[in-house]
């Protein structure tokens, strides 16, 4: 195909460009999230992530120490002075203008002196040092507000991740999630592989019906099952436990797993299985020694899906595992972080990224099996 004569190079360029466009469109949202998660939280909420490399102009409101506070006020010659720096509370940058009233926050350029109604004089330098002086001692419980226009350099920080990762119990949740996810990925695969083999290669009455049933059950919305199942668990004493959630994930993942694996196993060459039979292998041995190794691509690709699903699941986990410290899973923990800090984009971004890191790793590790495994057998 590559070598066809008379091909136009323009066409090749068009293909490259289109792919670039597609890739950009598809990665841009995630990329934005990634960039955002490293940004300073104050910048994050006022400027788009695409501006993160340029300095941003921000209007800050700073309150000078209240005159009534001890030690805030000094006498310098004839004047009573309050000094400080607008960046005392954090941040950095160059001040370009300031104001003393919310009505006109950038009334004065740096270096100028603003005179307040009560005669106090305020000046701010470019580095953010401010000075308030008055002829009489100043009074009041509220400090003077200073409005400064600051050109802030781009700020990147790992704080967001620190907050998320170091938040209490996240390690525990990580282990909990693994405890849920690994068996909840392996058990359905094991059960489905056995069932898939039986449905593909063993002869027994009712096989066709079972296959039809499996396909039919793929579409059952799992929300229907939550309450009856939890009631059942409570009745038989499983309650909220790992066993319960493993089985639940197994149940919900099973129809698709059986369907995919059966298709794949059915597509294995008949002769290989017969050959093993002639070699004296029982069905169990055929399954374990021949079918299982040969189905690895299918197992892996289903594993990806089941893993992603279980890892990202919140509903099933909260229903069957409970919310207490000992049992909370990652998604639950992150949602808790979000729930209590809904407005904090920085937590939102970092925690969203933390939550997709492991699935992404699993995906990249197993993706090469994906195609082979999923497709074989399902399409003729």
């Amino acid at each position: 195909m590559e070598g066809i004569a008379g091909r136009k190079p323009a066409l090749i360029w068009a293909v490259h460009l289109s792919v670039v466009l597609l890739v950009v469109l598809w990665t841009l949202p995630t990329f934005g999230l990634l960039v955002s998660s490293f940004r300073d939280k104050d910048q994050l909420s006022v400027s788009g992530w695409w501006t993160s490399l340029t300095s941003t102009e921000r209007n800050l409101v700073v309150r000078a120490p209240a005159p009534d506070d001890k030690g805030a006020q000094r006498q310098e010659g004839a004047f009573h002075v309050i000094t400080g720096n607008v960046f005392d509370g954090g941040g950095a940058g160059a001040v370009s203008a300031f104001g003393v009233s919310s009505q006109d926050p950038s009334a004065f350029a740096v270096g100028e002196t603003a005179v307040l109604k009560d005669g106090e004089r305020v000046s701010v330098t470019e580095t953010g040092d401010f000075r308030i002086e008055a002829d009489q001692p100043m009074t009041g419980k509220r400090g003077q507000r200073l409005f400064v226009t600051v050109l802030e350099p781009p700020l990147f920080t790992l704080d967001n991740y620190r907050t998320v990762l170091l938040s209490e119990g996240i390690g525990r949740s990580f282990i909990n999630t693994l405890t849920v996810t690994i068996p909840a990925t392996i058990i359905p695969i094991l059960i489905a592989a056995f069932a898939g083999y039986a449905l593909a290669w063993m002869r027994f009455p009712g096989r066709t019906f079972l296959v039809a049933m499996v396909v039919g059950l793929i579409v059952v919305p799992l929300q229907m099952s939550l309450i009856p199942l939890l009631r059942l668990y409570t009745d038989i004493g499983i309650g909220k436990s790992y066993v319960g959630i493993w089985l639940a994930h197994t149940g919900f993942g099973l129809p698709l797993a059986i369907y995919l694996l059966r298709n794949y196993i059915k597509g294995l060459p008949k002769e290989i299985i017969e050959s093993a039979r002639v070699d004296g292998a029982s069905d169990f041995e055929i399954f374990v020694k021949i079918v299982l190794p040969l189905s690895f691509p299918a197992l892996a690709s289903f594993a990806i899906f089941q893993f992603l699903w279980v890892w990202n699941d919140l509903l099933v986990a909260t229903v069957f595992l409970g919310n207490n410290e000992e049992q909370l899973v990652m998604t639950g923990r992150l949602r808790e972080l979000l729930g209590s800090r809904g407005g904090n984009w920085e937590i939102l971004t970092a925690s969203a990224f933390v939550s997709i890191a492991v699935p992404l790793a699993v995906f990249f590790a197993l993706q090469r099996y994906l195609v082979r495994g999923l497709l074989a057998g399902s399409v003729k």
């Binding site: 788009g48 282990i175 069932a195 997709i356």
Partner: protein, 329 residues
């Protein structure tokens, strides 16, 4: 550390118990009906009658408990009132078909059912076709597939960043509005924009599912015999004609499978709607509608009725799939 051990222990226990069942039950069967004895033939025949059920046993039991029973339970519930105690006949169904929320959900769901599978498959097909022709196609594929690994909730966070809206006079931090503003438009509250907001939500699922469609379709495209394409080249077809008239028709089967899978997903997914709008601004869909009635309305009868409608919507696809499955059974 101790947690870790407990975790490892219970994982091993869970997986081990499952493996042990299969191994043990087979072993038991072989002991009861030994294959190398006087009645070898009869024993083997008897064992072969039982063995499929050993293999299928756990699957059948779990499917029954986790899926069949809840379906039956739902049917029963749908004929009962909110407490699930008084029998109300078909009242729930009558109510449902007269309900505005339901009509809105059905309308939106139909939109979703048409748009999402179509768009995902379409973009997946385009991506597959294009990435297969270039050297860095695999990298491109991985990147396009990446959203698949992101949870619906995570995706919602990501897209909130795209659809975010600020007052017209401050800087937009939502990408879409930033673009609109840069082009001289006024910022829009995208997810509140009647009717169109449905599409903004669908975009999220399309974004997620395109990778899936792409991966599968790309495999199918590569399975097309090269010679048919070369024959078409000789016949004078241009690349577009080859794609549309030669390649696409040959992978219809796969396209149908991809389409079905995404369709089923569309009907089941409620997370995106829940997280983005919870059905406000006219974006209700059935799955979320059901969720609403179950947990806000606390009316299990109605929730079950909606669930059954969701299932009913998939029945045609289900029948088609069952037929396909039986063809090679």
């Amino acid at each position: 550390m101790e947690q870790l051990l407990v975790a490892l222990g219970s994982m091993a226990l869970g997986v081990g118990a499952c493996a042990l069942y299969f191994w043990g039950s087979n072993r038991l069967l072989d002991l009861v009906f030994p294959a190398r004895s006087a009645h070898a033939a009869a024993n083997i025949r008897r064992a072969n009658l039982i063995r499929p059920w050993l293999f299928l046993g756990p699957a059948v039991i779990i499917l029954t408990v986790y899926l069949v029973y809840p379906v039956l339970n739902s049917i029963w519930l749908s004929l009962h009132g909110r407490t699930g105690e008084e029998f109300v006949g078909l009242d729930n169904y009558v109510w449902l078909f007269g309900d505005d929320g339901f009509r809105e959900s059905i309308r939106n769901n139909l939109l979703w059912l048409v748009v999402v599978p179509a768009a995902s498959t379409f973009f997946g097909l385009i991506a597959a076709a294009l990435t297969d022709r270039i050297a860095w196609g695999n990298i491109a594929k991985s990147l396009i597939f990446m959203p698949m690994a992101i949870s619906f909730i995570g995706a919602s966070v990501i897209w909130k960043f795209i659809y975010d809206v600020r007052a017209a006079d401050v800087e937009q931090i939502g990408l879409l509005n930033a673009i609109v503003v840069a082009l001289g438009g006024a910022p829009q509250a995208w997810i509140a924009l009647p009717f169109w907001n449905n599409f903004f939500l669908m975009v999220i699922l399309i974004w997620i599912q395109t990778g899936f469609a792409m991966v599968i379709l790309s495999a199918a495209l590569r399975g097309i015999p090269e010679e048919t394409v070369e024959a078409a080249v000789l016949d004078g077809a241009n690349p577009l004609q080859i794609f549309l008239k030669i390649k696409v028709p040959q992978i219809w089967g796969t396209i149908a499978v991809v389409w079905t899978t995404i369709t089923i997903l569309v009907l089941k997914v409620f997370d995106i709607v829940l997280a983005m709008t919870n059905g406000q601004w006219g974006t209700q869909v059935l799955a979320n509608f059901m969720f609403d009635w179950m947990f806000r309305g606390l009316d299990f009868g109605r929730a079950a009725t909606i669930a059954l409608v969701i299932m009913a919507l998939v029945v045609p696809i289900m029948i088609w799939n069952i037929r396909e499955a039986q063809k090679d059974a």
